[in-house]
Structures are given as C-alpha cells and as structure tokens.
Symmetry: C2
Subunit: 598 residues, 2 copies
Amino acid sequence: MRTSIATVSLAGTLPEKLRAAAAAGFDAVEVFEPDLVTSPLRPAQVRSLAADLGVRIALYQPFRDPDDVDPARAARVRDRLRRKLDVVRELGCDLVLVCSSVHAAAVRDDDELAAQLSALADDASAAGVRLAYEALAWGAHVSDYRHGARVVALADHPALGTCVDSFHVLSRGDDPDGIADLEKVFFCQVADAPLLGMDVLPWSRHHRLFPGQGGFDLARFQRAVLAAGYDGPVSLEVFNDLYRQADPGRTAVDALRSLRYLADRTVPGTLPAAPVPRDWAFVEVAASGAGLPAVESLLTAFGLRRTGVHRRGEVDLWTRGPVRVVVNQRSAQDRARLSSLGLEVDQPHALAERARDLLAPLVHRPVGPGEAEIPSLVAPDGTWVQFCSTAPEWRDDFVPVPAPADVAPQGGFTGIDHVTLPQPFAGFDAAGLFLTAVLGLQAGELSEIPAPDGLVRSRPHTSPRSPVRIALNVGPTSATLRGRPLTGGHVAFATNDLVAVVDGFLAAGGRALPVPGNYHDDLAARFDLDEEFCESLRRRGILYDRDERGGEFLQFFARSVSREFFVEVVERRGGYAGFGAGNTAVRLAAQRVAPEED
Amino acid sequence: MRTSIATVSLAGTLPEKLRAAAAAGFDAVEVFEPDLVTSPLRPAQVRSLAADLGVRIALYQPFRDPDDVDPARAARVRDRLRRKLDVVRELGCDLVLVCSSVHAAAVRDDDELAAQLSALADDASAAGVRLAYEALAWGAHVSDYRHGARVVALADHPALGTCVDSFHVLSRGDDPDGIADLEKVFFCQVADAPLLGMDVLPWSRHHRLFPGQGGFDLARFQRAVLAAGYDGPVSLEVFNDLYRQADPGRTAVDALRSLRYLADRTVPGTLPAAPVPRDWAFVEVAASGAGLPAVESLLTAFGLRRTGVHRRGEVDLWTRGPVRVVVNQRSAQDRARLSSLGLEVDQPHALAERARDLLAPLVHRPVGPGEAEIPSLVAPDGTWVQFCSTAPEWRDDFVPVPAPADVAPQGGFTGIDHVTLPQPFAGFDAAGLFLTAVLGLQAGELSEIPAPDGLVRSRPHTSPRSPVRIALNVGPTSATLRGRPLTGGHVAFATNDLVAVVDGFLAAGGRALPVPGNYHDDLAARFDLDEEFCESLRRRGILYDRDERGGEFLQFFARSVSREFFVEVVERRGGYAGFGAGNTAVRLAAQRVAPEED
C-alpha cells in the first residue's frame, strides 16, 4: 500500500507538515489549499522542499463548487480552475480533488453537470492534470459515491475520475461494497470517526480520526477499493480538533501506524500476527527516595514481600502468589508512578517485525553481563511494555532474598486484574491505537465520568484470548492547566475473597480510601442487597456493582501513594466483565478529598 | 425572581459548590444526587451547611425510571423512593424531581403510569415531600411537557406536579407557550444551549449554557412559566464540559448574572436600560519599559502623535483625528497588551445600578485631586471598560503637549473600527454574557478559524445603535499548554483610504505583516478583481473580502508589537458588516511565521 496524508491532518506550517510526513515515512502528501495559501513558500518552493524530503505531492485539494446553473458564473469557475492549474503544475502535481457542489446554484441535471465537469477536464487535461470528483456527504445534489461515479461515467473524459472518501461513504451509512464496481477510481481518502449522532458536516470537520481509532469498518471499505483495481496511494484526510494542535511529528507516526494497521486488517497477514500476551509478568512502579517508603508500606500491607533484588541493585521484586510488582528506585522525578508493564508472551522476539512495521521499534534497556535482554516497546505516553518469556527468564535477574519471617495476611491474589494508564489530553486516541494495533487488544466502550474538576474519559482494552486488560483514561484540560493530573495510573489486583484481603490489609495498618456513607445508602436503594452484606461492604469501604446478568464486582481502593499512583483490589463474581465505571466518580471524588498518603 | 442553581452546574466538591452558590447570592440550590453520593458529608451535615450559608435546598434530583411494567420491579421502585425520601427529609428539602422513564420496561399506558406515580406520591406525601414530574426529551414514552402534564392531571394527586425544563422543551423545537396553561408547575429549570444539530442526549449532557449564552428564546419560555402562575425559584441546570472544570466561584457569578439578565428580557424594565456606548473614547495599551519603544514607533508610523501627558505621568495620550490611544507605562508585566477600553456614554453614572444588579460592580481607579473619576467595569478577562462622558471630561486629565513639528502622513482615520479581546479557554461564554448583558451588545455568528496550532473561535459583539464593536476570540487548549497565547488582542482603526494609510505607514518606517503571495494568487482566482487593484493589494500586503451584496473589506496588519498586541487598519466599502473572518487564517499563519517585532 502506498501511503499518503493530507496536510490538513497535521498541525503546524506547511514545511513543518511536510517534514513530519516525510520523517514518519509517508510516500506522499495531499496539499490542502489553505495550507498553501497561508504559506510564504511559493508553489515551486513547496515542490522542491517535497522533492528534497522524498515525498510526492499526490493531490491538490479541494476545488469546490465546480458547477453552476448560471453560464456566466460557470465561466468564472473555469477561469478559477485555470488559475489553480497553474499552481498545481508549479507544485509538480497532476491530480486535483473536485468536490460536489454545496451551493444553491448547483446543477441538478446530471447531463448538464457532466458537461460542465467535462469542460473543466478539458482544461485540466491541457495542463497535464487529472480531476478526481468526490461526492461530499452534504453535497447539494451529488452526495453519494454511486451518483458521483454516474456523473463521471456520463462525462466519459479520460482526465475525469472518481475520488472515494471513507468518511463521506460510511458517515451516511452507505454500503461501501459498491465501490468494487467503480471503473475509474483516481484517488482514495480514508478517515475513521467515532459513531456520533450529529450533523455530518461538523462531525466531519471536528471529529475525524485515523483508521482504527473510531467506529467505521474501514477494512471492508478498503477491500472494496482494492477490488475496484485501485493501486494509488491510500491517503489520510483527518480533520480533528486535537490533532490540529498536537505535535505534527508524533501525529504523523500515529497516522502512518494507522494505515499499516489498516492494511493488515484489509488483507490479514500483511503484518506478522499480533503477539497476544499470555499473562501479566509484572507491573513496575518507579519511586523516588521520598516516595519509596509509602510504596513499600502499601505493598507490605497487601501481603506482598520483597523476594528478589536486582543484580545491579536499586530494583526490587515484590511478590504475593501470582502478583509481581517491580519497584524501581532509579527514578528521581516521580514520587511513585506506574512506569512499566511486563507481559508474558511466547517467543517475544517474534513481535519485533510487527512492531517495527507499526513504527514502534523495539528498545532495550542496558543489560549487565548474564542478564536477560527483555525486548520492550515504549507506548506513546512513555510507559514501557516489556515482553517476558521463560527463556531467558527475566526473574533470574533478581537475586532471591531470604523469605521474610512474618506470616502473610489471610486471603490471596489470583493475579493482576488490570492497570490504568493516564494519558495527556491530546494523547488518548494515539495510545488506544498503540494498544490495538501493536498489542492486539480490543478497545471497549468509552465511559465519561464526572469528577469534581471535570469529565474524565476512560476506555478499557481487553482481549478474549488474554487476561491482560489495560484501561486508558484522560482528564479534562483543566487537570493539566491547574498543574496536577486529575487521574492517576493504577494497578488492580484480583482476588476471590476481597473481604479477607481488605481485612488483612487493614489489620496490617493499610489505609483505605474513605468511601462516603451516602454511597452505601444509595447502593442499598439501587440494589436489593442483603443488609448484612451491604453493611460488610460499608464497614470496609468496598464499592459494588452488578451487571444485567447478575455478575457482581467488588472494588477496594487503598489511599493513593502519590498523585500518579494508587492500588485497587477487585473481586469478580459470575462473569462480571466491566470495571465498575459507575463507581469511578465516587473514587475520584474521594481521592480529591483525601488525595494521597502523607 | 427567586434564584436557584443545580449543584451539577458548578465544579468542585459539594461544600465548594454550596459556598460558591451562596457567595454569588443565589437563594437556593438543587442538590444533584451524585454530588451527595460522592460527598463525605451526610445529608444532615449538608442541611446545616446550607442553612449556615443561607441557601435553601429547593429540590433533590433526579429520581429516575419511576415506573415499570413489571409489578415486582415497580415495587422495588417504591422501596427505592422510600429510601431516598429519608435522605430528602434529612436534607431539609420537600421536593424531588422525578424524570420520565427511559428504560425498555417503561409503562406505555397513561392511566397505569398515572397510577404508579400516584402510589409514589402517596409515599412522598406521607414524608411531607412533593414530586415534580419532568418529561425528558429522550423519555421512552413521555418526552414532551404536555404529555407529562396530562399524566400528572390523570394522577390528580396533591403531592404530584410538573417540572418544566427549558432544555427539554426547546431542544425538541416544542412551542413553550402551552406551559402557560399548566395548572401544577412545581418547579422550573432553565438552561440555554447553542443550536447544534446533534442527538439531544449528548447535546444536553455536554453543551448546555447559561441563559443568554446560547440560541434558545428563553424569555418566551419564561413568560409562559410566569403566565402559569409559577412563583417558585427559577433554577439553572447546566451540564457543560467547561463549567465542570472552571472555578465554581466565577461560574456562580456568571450564572446568577445570566438569571438576572433573563428576568430583564422576560419582563423588560426589570433592570435599568443597558447604557449603549455612543462611541469609542479611547483604547488603552499597557506597555512595560521594554515594550514601550515598539508601541511608540508603531503609533508614530501610523501617524499618531503624543498630544497629552497624564497629570501624574507615565500615561500618554496619542491621537490622530478621532483615534485616541492611551499608552500606560505603569504595567511591569506586559510587553504590550490591550488593557482598557474607553467608551463614551451619556450619563455614565446611570449604568451603576444595572451593572450592580448584574454582579458587575463599578470600580474606580485611584484619582488625583481634580482628576475625572471614570466609572469602570472589569470584564471577566480582566480588561477594564471605562465609561467616559464629556462632563467631567476625561481628556482634561492629560496635559497637552506642544504639537509635534513633523507632518502627519497622508490619509486619515475615521475612528476605531473594533477591538478583539483574547479569552482564556474556559472564559469565552462568560465574557460574551458580560458584553451582552452588561454592555447591551448583540452576539454575532461564531467563526472557527484553522490556525497552524489549532482552531481559533471568534465571535463579534455589535449594536445597531453604536459604532462600538468588540470581538472575543479563544484559542485551542494547546495554545496555553505550550505557554504562549495563540491569539492576541488587537485594535483596528478605520479609514476611508487604506492604500494611503498603508503607504504613509510604510514610508514612515512601519513594518507590514508579510502576506503570502499565494494568498493574492488565490484572491485573483476567487474574485473577479481588476488586475491593477489586485496588484496594489499584493504590493502593500492588504487582505480583501467581499460580501454577497458586493460590500468590500480591506484589511492591513502591522507586524505584531508583542504576542499579546497588534494593530490592524480596515476600510469598509458598500456596507460590508463583517470582519474578514475568511482572512483570519492567513493572518494567524503569518503571525506564526513572523510572530512579532524583532
């Protein structure tokens, strides 16, 4: 698949956009007219810059409102196109996107429309340029691709073909399969979008996403485009309020990753298979000297014990049954922060090729002699994802320490249930794409949770083939503007007996996040709970949820260790598959009142 | 009008919300259940806090899904209500909002629904509580207020009445006049909203605004509520993503201002008339020692001369014809910033009462002996608005300086055309309400302008009775996150001969903001411009726009003085009334490339 991106998808000036696209590895760009009009670079300068950078200018766009019922105004359109053809030629480009008209004087008659487009194609052809006609979803008369292609067929001009754009097809709920029957597809634009119930125009202008970040079935769209025999570049045209303000270099990487991932979903096997993590190996908490005692006290109260010390020191392994927490004291900045996720995969090195193709090259920490080399990825938010196998065994890097003399508290953990990674405001969708494309997880439903300082959005990522669950969350802008994160990262341990775990934790001096009595009153009103059971939850500060099939979820939160890190323990009963999203507002409010351990 | 606000309209914890509402001066609050459930304060504690603060708890809300086709589940609903009635009584409240059901098992038969609501009203009545039934716009069967009121009438229970909510009525496009015929209005909620084409539920949950900030005709709604004989509190229920994260104290002031303004629009004359500014008296630029030379050079190049010095020094008056710029050197922080607007009004002291009622008390700068005391307001963004009359004459505070010897350049100004004030991210709607409610200006259409670092929103505020025009703009979040404002404030001088003004400016050493050649090429393609005219624009860096009736707009921008301040000169021809919004992207991109003087 040849790859392209419209300059409107990236923030910055035109040269910044071109450099970002080239650096990420795109083959080509579409030049969005306003990016050129607002640039001090003349078209010929843009042409040489693109040539120097090794990106082709595949398309110039858009040419709007190409037809008019008034002959004088139609003549003005031809004049306008001729002037634009000069620009296109100077750019070294040979294709112009022509959108179906949206104005009141648009031509309704297909024959007349075809004749006007044909006249424009004459002028284009004379300049060595072709026109790709696109049906805008909100076009005055031509608003679906079949209609657009009929007009192109009527015009029957070698310099006039069709541009298909996934947004304009799928936002209308159109069946994309008919694209396979189109004869003259000159260009293909793709964009994803969340499935929002709103007018198509503002949905298109503000909320488009890169493939894999939204709700469109783009693989099906793309298969139809391939079936039509199209072999030109597949080009991302993503109007998005957040990408408009994000670092264009990072956006371009995200964008190209989305296209490579789309190619693999379109033709499965294009990339090596995603390495499905078999289980959690560990989670790693980075703690400064100041934060370390609180982390160690918390783990101790939860019955974890320090069972290993890294050969090179400053990194301890804490365990209780299948729960393993690595405490890394090499960080100077963070009081305590979830810094790394260890995942067990078979043949970890097998993922190297897929990850590289998805612009997530493997990285390696410096290893000492004899230490296990753990292939790792760095997620967009900076969290390391380390891939652990049994050979070499990562645990061999830790020198066992003698078993502590004290007795572990009652109850036990069955493993790590999930982790949550907080994201920067504009990084939520990029991080989601990383988890789905590279790690092969599936994105779940978005929750919007009212917190005292604004809405928090949260989305789980899970796999039917793996117990690894990773939630992403992101606070409102103010959370950053006020200089503190609204949401922290956290790890949730799983147990089959939460009451016992909590009793052990409290007996060992652990401190629970205070849960309001009003919450348990409300619980009693909402659910038909046994009074004794409700009382046992209330006494321990345990939160509760129930799904429609009777599955139950019990959650307990320890007081936060830092603004960035806290620990939860959960008990799932009867196949409950959620994350207690309805309780998150209670947890966030409680953390606001009692922010962290002092 | 008694005033109330739902706690969900304000950010923070429940005590913070109550304190903010009380401090602003609200008579009452609605307690939004999740705010109580997430609070460590027990209902009785909330009751005493509210009593201490002097705000009444007028309503507890919401009680959802009150009916069910399944008798066992309907019995559960009664149990749920009884538990909530305990809470409501502890709160010292006697009214509960009951929403029409949205679930699949909602009762479709009105008689059965009335019977179930009546049974609930029996329980409420026994607890000394009344129920206000509200038709949610997205209710399963009951979704309009007439239907809701019919069910209430069928139930015919003294403890059951209707709650009307402007959003649920007006978002559906319903005619609110029928509210006048309702017999039992127990409660009234009001919210405004921008007229968005999207599903009602997310529109309601994210985009509500305070009255006067959106597009609903709330005065008409409110007149119908008054005609129904309702004399209870008018309560703001505003779900808004930005207000959820804004300072609750400021939001509460904004909110109460919106209600007072609504009362005046509902019954004109409730407040003293808005003082329509007759004209600009001056604009004031605050400059530090470091920024002063650039400001003075710029004004000089535009032909302004220092014609007065303030009696107490450090403040100069620069003039050219009717354009007056006060340069205030007393600011240490700002290189150069638009700090104050001087407006000519008749009888400036007449506005004191209206402003005070609208929570914008007059402020006075310290004045020296014999100086004019200029009554002023401070806009939400900190800009001073000073009201100048001829007696006392503000200009008398400036000691005239001898006329400069040099000759002013050709052409001249006809006055100040408009100013633009940049707003903080969450302050756009509050500032708009200030301009409309307090200054009596009318909000124009919102423009969304793509800039290199994100979308900029801009809205003009004008009056048919005044030449004063004030635009507000606000950049994307990143503009602040990256530590610099994306949009600056500016003043636009008006002229009848822009070419002459620009030639004079350039001849005097002024520096134009560089306008890309591509822009003028595009201009030639878009408009049928005389080539010589187009060339004259290109040579001078003048931007151009034309409206549908042939009115023309010429704009010239000097290089920015600072990131916060720049100067424009405009020429309006043939009744052009806009602001060249289509050119703003060009200006913003040019300012990005050449941000400011040296």
